[in-house]
Amino acid sequence: MESNIITINENKLTFESGETILTVAQRNNIHISTLCHLKNTLPTHTCKICLVEVKGETDLVESCAAKARRDMIIFTESPKVITARRKQISKLLALGNHNCAIREVDPMDWTSFQLDVLTRDGNEDLCPAWGNCELQNLAYLYQVKTRALPLTGCKYETERANPFIIRDFSRCILCGRCIKACREIQVNNAIEFGYSGEDLKVIAKADAPLKDSDCVFCGECLQVCPVGALVPEKAFRDDRFKDTRKIRTTCPFCGVGCQMDLFVQDNKIVKIDGADMDLPPNHASLCVKGRFGYDFIASADRLTRPLIKKNGEQVAVSWDEALDFVAEKLSAIKKEFGPDSIGVLTSARITNEDNYIAQKFTRAVLKTNNIDHCARL
């Protein structure tokens, strides 16, 4: 039996029927540039960046939508493909306020250009997605210069009325990724394309601010926006050039156990993203609490010193004093009233390691089984 084989850039690759050219390429670590494509959603057909050339076909095809067919011969970076992509990138750059990078850039001197931008651009003008923008990356990759492109004004005002999310329509390239994330991944159905033609816009509920719509602020749209159209309300933008560490951990809220990445600058969490799209249980999704509810960590109200109640008032003491006092009191109560006169409420918030020690302490030291936690509440 003939097997299902296609050739991409002279590599013979097998495919399963129904797979797209893009899926086969990605599985084999062959890079095809994409923009509107969002994994696990249906093709949007808006950006035309993932076009590839198929031998024997006159028109280029969208690799994110076209299914692999037996004996296809595909070129992902042919001159024809590159010309088409450059044209498309130019078109997208011209669509809005993309004064970022590529204007006046000398390809030979990228570093000095970056430094120049840093000194020249006021923070307000500098796109908040600068350095983290997929369109900017594409423009650089394909050396598309926008100097000659006219700047089009944006008829839609930036929406700053919401908690957590700023919507800057002047930078929106109408790729529709946010809509895919909202309708096909989170299935919150809060946003869609509204109006048409030149007025096309991503709208929420009859074109209302997100806060007055069905939006539940999961922020999936923010996470998938390839440009600077959806940006966090928080001033991450001002500090984007600082040293940032990324730490993978587990969300502290409900029991789903979403995997997430904490972005840390100067011992402070500045942003949280869902982890990999391939990683269970959440496949990069988060909810509003997990993504945005982290202010408590750096809160000035955190307890920082042990307190002992003296004459009816809690006063700060040293750890030694507090620990001695607790050990002494518990020992005395245990001796006078027996171990079962003491109870420990451990917690569904703390780690397995903490919980294990709490029950070991209760059973091996206090010698009672009076241990429980808030599972029922």
């Binding site: 409900c254 307890l303 050990a327």
Partner: protein, 528 residues
């Protein structure tokens, strides 16, 4: 959960009950919603018209506290129409005849008189649930927080076994755990009757083994008290001291008036937490602990997946690790307890916990593993009960409907049910420090149906006094299509108008869970 979260999308029929999934488990709810996009059937059975009902093929609305009746009703129809899985029942279960006899009188018409669910709707759901190749049940506190909570859960297990929907992909009986590490706290023996991995404290072999591992002797063989009874014992003066870790019972406990008196009665209260709370404020000693972002360790999620927690930032001030504080105290009490780090604690856990034995931090570095995982070459167990149940054969329990402990009366004509909202978590000590979340959900509210509001002559925004036999709170009314006539919902997050001033501390006799989901209240307007 008997199955995994990802499994939900592979079910043919999903039955969600007693779970406001989109608000309490938002990311998990996406799996349910995506399944419906792919043509899978969704049935929601809940007294509130929760958001998930928008995605459901059918929503059945039972009166609060009537779950056993509708579950028995479904089983009645399934058996009557011979849609039950005879092979599964024969090979994997016992006691079927007794169940059959019990559900015989739960005809759809009889069930309608108890629950208010239309007979024809019940029949439709029964048929579709039973004839699906595989169907999953998801449930949450709407099932468990009742005086008959244990029986509710057993009834759901009956239903799943009856159709043979358990022990295979896409099926199962799946409780959704509400806090990040409830599963882990239970697995680790944070319960009065068991050590880690649910090994009973009364079992001499188990206890001897742990005494040896922990180098101690004389551990108690008598199960201890659950939290709800510890509070009662404190009230009665028998419990002298409580050591509370990362909890705020003076907002989250039922019948707060009673709980406050109980706590005030303690000779010595220690609270270890990251913030001042209603509970730390009355403590004799407050110990500053670290939060998840300052810790190395593991959490176990609702699908039994053990996952890593990693330190991202330094703890503030002198705050210490929870385990470290407890070790410090233990050592001062004459039992030397010290670990260089939490990784060493995990290694000790796996040495005494059969279901975690094969899990190492290295193995879960990239992706978590579902327990049971008996050895280091075992890949974990995503689906439970595939070949047999823990006890061997699955036991059908014959259960009859019992009404809630408190019923509406002339003086207290409404039923109160409590829960959470999307934007806050538990008593709000964490979420209420984020401005955006407070903007989206600023204060307590009293959710009421438009019919009830009209009869009271009140509208959204009216300040009302809500009282039960135990307490009284003031909050604003919110007319909502989620509410059914006669039933009021109040979120329990807000200390200033704490729903638990009203709730009933009456317990399920087995699980000792309070009946948060039903108590009788009255509503009166408050004139400014």
């Amino acid at each position: 959960m008997t199955n995994t979260i990802a499994d939900i999308e592979t079910s043919d029929v999903i039955l969600v009950t007693g779970s406001n999934t989109t608000e309490n488990h938002p990311v998990l709810s996406s799996f349910v919603k995506r399944a419906t996009l792919n043509g899978k059937k969704l049935f929601v059975i809940d007294p509130r018209k929760v958001k998930l009902t928008d995605h459901a093929d059918k929503w059945l609305r039972p009166a609060p506290g009537t779950d056993i009746a509708w579950i028995n009703g479904l089983m009645h129809v399934i058996i009557k129409e011979a849609l039950h899985n005879k092979v599964f029942i024969e090979n994997r279960t016992e006691n079927f005849e007794v169940l059959k006899k019990t559900v015989e009188r739960y005809t759809p018409e009889y069930v309608e008189t108890i629950t208010g669910i239309k007979a024809e709707d019940l029949i439709q759901v029964a048929r579709e649930f039973a004839s699906a190749p595989v169907a999953a049940i998801l449930y949450c506190m709407g099932i468990t927080q009742h005086t008959c909570g244990t029986d509710n859960v057993k009834s759901l297990a009956n239903l799943s076994m009856l159709c043979g929907h358990i022990g295979k992909p896409g099926g199962g009986v799946n409780p959704l755990r509400g806090q990040n590490n409830v599963q882990g706290a239970c697995d680790m023996g944070g319960l009065p009757n068991v050590f880690t991995a649910y090994q009973p404290v009364g079992n001499d072999d188990v206890r001897n083994r742990l005494e040896k591992a922990w180098n101690t002797s004389g551990m108690s063989a008598t199960p201890g008290l659950p939290v709800t009874e510890m509070v009662q014992n404190a009230y009665d003066g028998k419990m002298k001291s409580l050591f509370v870790i990362g909890e705020n019972p003076l907002v989250s406990d039922p019948d707060l008036n009673h709980a406050r008196k109980a706590f005030a009665n303690l000779a010595f209260l220690v609270v270890q937490d990251i913030f001042q709370t209603e509970t730390t404020k009355i403590a004799d000693v407050v110990l500053p602990a670290t939060c998840f972002a300052e810790k190395e360790g593991t959490f176990t999620n609702t699908e039994r997946r053990v996952q890593r927690v990693r330190k991202a930032v330094e703890a503030p001030g002198e705050a210490r690790q929870d385990w470290e504080i407890l070790c410090n105290i233990a050592t001062r009490m004459g039992y030397e307890m010290s670990y260089p780090n939490s990784h060493d604690i995990f290694k000790e856990i796996t040495s005494v916990t059969p279901s975690y034995k094969g899990i190492t931090w290295d193995r879960i570095d990239g992706m978590g593993i579902h327990w049971p995982c008996p050895n280091e070459i075992h890949n974990g167990t995503p689906i439970l009960h595939t070949t047999q149940f823990t006890r061997g054969k699955g036991m059908f329990h014959a259960i009859d409907h019992t009404p809630p402990a408190e019923q509406p009366t002339r003086d207290y004509p409404y039923i109160l049910t409590t829960g959470r909202v999307l934007y806050h978590y538990h008593t709000g000590t964490m979420t209420m420090r984020t401005d955006g979340l407070n903007r989206l959900s600023p204060e307590c509210f009293v959710e009421i149906s438009s019919g009830d509001a009209q009869r009271l002559g009140l509208d959204t925004g009216s300040m009302v006094a809500v009282s039960s036999r135990r307490g009284k709170i003031h909050a604003k009314l919110k007319v909502s299509s989620k509410a059914m006539d006669g039933t009021i919902f109040i979120p329990f997050h807000f200390a200033k108008a704490a729903a638990n001033e009203l709730t009933n501390a009456k317990l399920d006799p087995t699980a000792k869970i309070p009946e948060f989901k039903v108590c009788a209240i009255k509503i009166e307007p408050v004139t400014a």
